[in-house]
């Protein structure tokens, strides 16, 4: 797979909840981090559920980029301003500080150049909300140590050769990259397999062992 799409596997945690005002728990966490009334770009916005929520409940001027034609059409049908495009190329065309906040949900590990992507997010928006799947989760470590298999794909019911997650990383790996880029981690949340989340110290070894996902607020 090239480019950014929400053609990505379902997240390890979280439930899709139907009904008014309920969105997947990781999206809810992201939505809570987005400042109300701000201008937001959701990169790889999928069917627009986060954008819809932000528009309706947080008064956000929400825009999106999505590579899948069908999903863009679904977004337009909800009246969302979404562009069909490949964020790995198109983000370069956005001017600096075009948005208050840029969201990248469950996508960073699927892009060819995650560092470039982070640079773009922070260039375009003053804030970035990024969620990752944590390769350091203990089950991954056990799978690798005991079974001797590449754990990231195994736990996603995928194979190593066709997984979209071409750049697995742990919370610590991500924090190292943020430091290397002089990016400030404003807040960091860990999500456990039951879908509960708590704010953590991004340097916490315990969180790196027990979290299946992490959500970072960067500036």
């Amino acid at each position: 797979m090239t480019g950014i799409s929400s053609d990505k596997p379902a997240p390890l945690i979280g439930r899709t909840e139907s009904g008014s005002g309920r969105i997947r728990v990781d999206l809810q966490l992201i939505a809570d981090l987005v400042p109300a009334g701000s201008r937001v770009l959701d990169v790889g916005c999928g069917d627009g559920s986060l954008l819809h929520y932000l528009t309706k409940y947080k008064g956000v001027d929400a825009r999106g980029i999505e590579i899948s034609r069908d999903r863009v059409a679904a977004c337009l049908n909800q009246g969302l301003s979404v562009i069909q495009g490949d964020a790995e190329m198109d983000l370069a065309d956005y001017p600096d500080d075009a948005f208050d906040c840029v969201v990248l949900s469950q996508t960073l590990q699927a892009v060819h150049d995650p560092k470039w992507m982070l640079e773009q997010l922070l260039r375009i928006g003053g804030l970035a909300v990024v969620s990752i799947t944590n390769a350091g989760y203990w089950k991954n470590r056990v799978t690798f140590m005991v079974e001797g298999r590449e754990p990231f794909a195994v736990h996603r019911d995928e194979t190593w050769y066709d997984t979209a997650y071409i750049h697995p990383c742990t919370i610590r790996d991500f924090v190292d990259l943020a430091n290397e880029m002089d990016t400030r981690i404003e807040r960091c949340f860990a999500l456990n397999p039951r879908g509960a989340y708590r704010e953590i110290n991004p340097r916490s070894h315990w969180a790196n062992l027990t979290a299946v996902q992490a959500v970072f607020l960067l500036s």
């Binding site: 977004c75 009246g79 979404v82 069909q84 956005y94 075009a98």
Partner: protein, 394 residues
């Protein structure tokens, strides 16, 4: 641009909508319109149609801009050909352009030949048809005439300006020229400038018209002649650009026309030849050759970036307009790349823009077709914009 005719071989379709009432108004009578060329023109007759009702606060008007050879009869049976209007499938109750929800306006463009002032009309200074004395016009001039009509109808802000191909150029020109008078804009299968390739195609068409001895240097009406052969050839050439190789292959392939084998002559051996000839012949009955010259020329001159130092995004700085841009995968006349350039320029100034490329093999003419994905997108964009505008559902 755009054939605006049902493809041959398709069963003769009946129009979905009712016949539209032709309307005409004389505008720019007191003060002539200053054209982009510097010339002035007036009074100007504008032929148009409307559907639906303007609501109390006049916030539900949609201006539909037709393409090169289209006209104001967007839906219902066409008064001269009897065929369904060019956007018949887009318009109607429950369809994207719903007259029960919106007040739909479509006028014949300046330079056209179905009721709006154009080169076949009488030049008041000479008492003879304008011919080539008609001033050269631009897409911006067409838009200015539409603006006069919108003023005449007492509408301040249009809810939407929508159109495909050259109609899309008018949409973009509206958004740039009168941003405060357009709530949302939908340019479909269009571009912010005419490409060298399209200018080249236009020039071939114009040369075909002018090479016909019956064109008489543009004075054919005075001589009682019509350059039918030249105009038909122009149409045949243009029609190829509205389709795609895959659509032509799918429809015709190398099939022969009512014969078992080739004739080793220059008859229309192949179905595709017969089809093109038919397109040419039926076109000349409903279109004026000089109008064809003027309108293609207006399109050639279209370049929104030109007035802004060649930087397209500057044309849209601080625009309040919501844009919905649509392109089609198999359109090689207005390829997706040109829509993407437009979207990039809009993004560069933080404009509110949605963009989608519809997958179809029907080429540029896709914008006229009843393609469910496409219609859903138009419907979705308009509904979303209507929501933002506070338009109540009927």
């Amino acid at each position: 641009m755009a054939s605006e005719a049902a493809p041959e071989g398709a069963p003769a379709k009946r129009a979905n909508g009712p016949a539209l009432t032709p309307q005409q108004v004389v505008l720019a009578a007191d003060e002539p319109l200053r054209l982009d060329s510097g010339a002035t023109l007036g009074p100007i007759t504008v032929a148009y149609t409307t559907q639906g009702r303007l609501n109390a606060d006049k916030s539900n008007a949609i201006l539909i801009c037709h393409a090169l050879t289209g006209d104001q009869f967007v839906s219902g049976p066409h008064p001269t050909t009897g065929k369904p209007g060019w956007w018949d499938t887009m318009i109607g109750p429950g369809r994207p352009l719903d007259p029960e929800r919106y007040f739909l306006i479509c006028s014949n463009i300046l330079g056209g030949c179905l009721g709006t002032t154009g080169p076949k009309d009488i030049n008041p200074a000479t008492g003879k048809p304008w011919g080539l004395d008609f001033p050269v016009i631009t897409v911006g001039d067409m838009v200015n005439v539409q603006r006069l009509l919108v003023d005449h109808l007492g509408i301040g802000q249009l809810f939407c300006v929508i159109g495909g191909s050259m109609g899309g150029m008018q949409v973009l020109d509206w958004a740039v020229r009168y941003p405060e008078r357009v709530f949302c804009a939908m340019p479909i299968a269009s571009a912010a400038r005419t490409s060298a390739q399209n200018i080249a195609h236009h020039e071939v068409g114009r040369q075909a018209v002018m090479a016909d001895p019956d064109w008489c240097g543009g004075r054919y009406l005075e001589q009682g002649k019509r350059p039918h052969r030249g105009l038909a050839v122009a149409r045949m050439g243009a029609h190829i650009t509205y389709l795609s190789e895959s659509a032509l292959t799918r429809k015709f392939g190398r099939s022969l026309q009512a014969r078992e084998q080739v004739t080793y002559g220059f008859d229309a051996d192949f179905q595709v030849e017969s089809y093109l000839r038919h397109q040419g012949i039926t076109f000349v009955d409903r279109f004026d050759a000089n109008s064809y010259l003027y309108i293609t020329r207006a399109t050639d001159y279209f370049d929104l970036a030109q007035e802004h130092g060649g930087v397209l995004s500057r044309a849209f700085r601080n625009t309040p307009v919501r844009f919905g841009v649509v392109s089609f995968t198999s359109d090689w006349m207005f390829p997706t790349l040109e829509s993407r350039d437009l979207v990039k320029a809009l993004n560069a100034v933080g404009a509110n823009v949605a963009f989608v490329e519809v997958e179809t093999d029907q080429g540029h003419d896709s914008f006229l077709m009843d393609i469910p994905d496409y219609h859903r997108i138009v419907h979705g964009f308009l509904e979303g914009a209507a929501d933002h505008r506070g338009l109540k559902k009927p």
